[in-house]
Symmetry: C2
């Protein structure tokens, strides 16, 4: 390993502000263990009723609802209202898009 990989002149990178903002916003939606758990549960089945998620997670209904709202705002889940219930489903395509945007952004 070389003693220093440091360069003298920084190589400027094209600034794609929209993409970077989207990555950051979606990462923020993932930045909570309860939301990770919710996504994992939803990823394992075609869809879930909210109440089942509430009892599985074990937090207040309003808290779980808020986490779900954040996931939806990040496009990671979709909802289908069936009054008085709501069915939540994972948006696999958006998860895949996040994963590939991540990979291309950092040249993986």
């Amino acid at each position: 390993m070389s003693d220093t990989n440091c360069i003298k002149e920084i190589k400027l990178i094209p600034l794609n502000q929209d993409e970077e903002e989207k990555l950051a916003v979606q990462a923020k939606a993932l930045a909570h263990p309860v939301r990770i758990r919710l996504l994992k549960i939803l990823a394992a089945q075609p869809g879930c009723i909210g109440g089942d998620l509430v009892s599985t997670i074990g937090l207040a209904q309003s808290t779980v609802s808020e986490h779900l709202r954040i996931l939806k705002e990040a496009s990671f889940i979709t909802t289908e209202v069936q009054r008085p219930r709501t069915c939540y489903s994972v948006n696999q395509n958006e998860l895949k898009k996040f994963n590939s945007l991540f990979a291309t952004s950092f040249r993986l």
Copy 2:
């Protein structure tokens, strides 16, 4: 598309709390556009002096230093001290690990 994908009985998922926590913690480190930008810059070259990053980002030195600390704590970058300078490098392996943990967690 079926009218409802909702299931009656939720399918329980193995609870891997450590992995879920790690995903959330690392996602939190990514949850800021400046940190995304820093990672992108670092991913484009073998290493960077902190001061160059500060002038490229255009925020206060202490602010950039804090963002770099967060990225380091998440293992996304490494540092090599060369007093009085510090050379920052991306940890590509950890980025790849994040990407694959993400993919397996959500069954992509």
